[in-house]
Symmetry: C2
Subunit: 311 residues, 2 copies
């Protein structure tokens, strides 16, 4: 492969979420040549259509008309562009590119990566998007690994070498959102509060919740009476509730495994909160940037299918 | 007291909630002579005013202008008609009538009962309305007792004779409401579903959640993937989620106490669900009707203050 080929556009990578769209023009060496972002996630496109949105963003990065496109995320859901059926766990991560579904299209090779599912009646679960991040993590380590992927529905994944063994979902992000928007706790949290990772209110709530995750069912209400009784200021409500919910998640997840090494796939402020919390809980962290590993996963998948890079 | 006096109107009892209003015309012997209900709870009255609402309902039952009125609930909140400051626990229940706050009024004696608060920085809590139900339970038993009061914010109360020792709040009802209206689980629950107490889906989810309440943090999401994977029908989503949330509540509450005798203050379908669940969990139940004990509490308070009955 010449240097010219290495830096020429090789394919387009797309992370198509529920409410977001991110596209990168990727070179033969995996480098990013251009990007385009928007709010046209699955929810938008289910009615407005998927192809026009993709075409608009392809035009932004001047993608040649022959360039293939590798997509992960909700575009592959049943309500998405075309369904890319879940792969069952346990599964090797390399099975993901092989199971990518081709979108019927005039002239361009467009593939959508499948999600993963756990068809266990006692622990049913699904993911779409995170599996590509796991694929992106692939080269980082071997053996038995735990991966924490915080978000609207946080995922905790157990890997064995290249194999996804099992995973759990915690509705932490969505619980925070609905409780602070629609429940009585809306009076106890300043809208759009940003909790910082060294906030003693956050860390205090986290530690006690982590120690007794079952008790948090009796504690979610806490910020409201604490403030009514003058024991807490409204400005501390967000940190208090974040600490309780993240403590419940990490506490409950810790009960399932004695593994203390963990890869945290995070970004921004939420990533910093989880990093601080996991360190308090005694985990040894490997940090991975969420967007980077998504792109790495798409690059790896493209390499497997089109040989566009070294994967 | 003559029979005539016993059956003549002695006072008016009012349960003024956040979003509901219930008024009863009570005789000297505690019997109900008339009632009037409406949706004019505190939220409505904070802007529309409290007195006109009370007057309208007093007119419905033809309450004589000299008849005193005993009120419990959110009318005594800071955002209510007039604040009836919380009594701190531990407290004797008989302190409640003594702490009732008189509403300044031309010609009628109107009192609002206080709520209870737990000013413990590690377990802050408040209640308004349930304290009157505890007062209504008063004659039923002595000694150490546990009381479960399910609802939007379920309360679990520890009593020692006539003394409220401590209490916890579980946001079970509100969690169910916000998750099924505003979170991804709205796709997994048929709106306005009514779960019945012998539904095997409810009981199955309850038992496993009760056994491991911490694990429910990883299971709230469950109905959604179970249905996406064809392992559950949408019609079962409500029973599944109810079982998980009520199991988490009763499981977490059970970890705090080895007490197996419990008084359940419930009503309607929710009361039946809790009764079935508590029995599955091995509790010995004493059932109390929520509305009856509210009225009994108001009657007892009126008796203490005005000597209108035998309390």
């Amino acid at each position: 492969m010449t240097d010219g080929a290495a830096s020429a556009p090789a394919f387009v990578a797309v992370d198509w979420g529920t409410s977001s769209f991110r596209l990168w023009l990727i070179a033969g060496d995996g480098g990013v040549l251009g990007e385009s972002r928007g709010g046209e996630g699955m929810m938008h496109c289910s009615t407005a259509g998927f192809e026009p949105v993709l075409e608009r963003h392809l035009a932004v990065v001047n993608a040649p008309s022959w360039l293939p496109v590798m997509i992960c995320g909700m575009a592959g859901a049943r309500q998405g562009w075309i369904e890319a059926p879940y792969l069952d766990v346990p599964t090797a991560l390399d099975a993901l590119p092989r199971a990518a579904v081709a979108v019927p299209h005039d002239g361009r090779d467009i593939r959508i990566l499948p999600g993963l599912c756990q068809r266990d009646p006692h622990a049913p679960n699904v993911m779409r998007g995170e599996e590509t991040q796991l694929l992106g993590l692939r080269p980082q380590a071997r053996g038995h690994r735990l991966v924490c992927m915080p978000g609207t529905h946080s995922k905790w994944v157990t890997l064995e070498d290249d194999k996804v063994v099992s995973f759990q979902s915690y509705m932490t992000g969505e619980l925070y959102a609905v409780l602070t928007r629609h429940a009585v706790l809306r009076h106890a949290v300043v809208p759009d509060s940003r909790t910082v990772a060294d906030d003693p209110v956050f860390l205090g709530a986290f530690e006690s919740a982590y120690a007794e995750p079952a008790r948090v069912w009796a504690r979610l209400f806490e910020p409201r009476p604490a403030q009514l009784l003058g024991l807490e200021e409204t400005k501390d409500g967000a940190a208090h509730l974040s600490g309780l919910l993240i403590g419940a998640e990490i506490g409950a997840a810790s009960m399932r495994s004695s593994q203390r090494g963990i890869t945290l796939v995070g970004s921004g402020q939420l990533g910093r909160l989880y990093a601080a919390a996991l360190e308090r809980a005694g985990f040894e962290l490997v940090l991975a940037d969420a967007e980077q590993v998504t792109r790495d996963g798409l690059v790896h998948a493209a390499g497997q299918i089109w040989g566009t890079n070294n994967g």
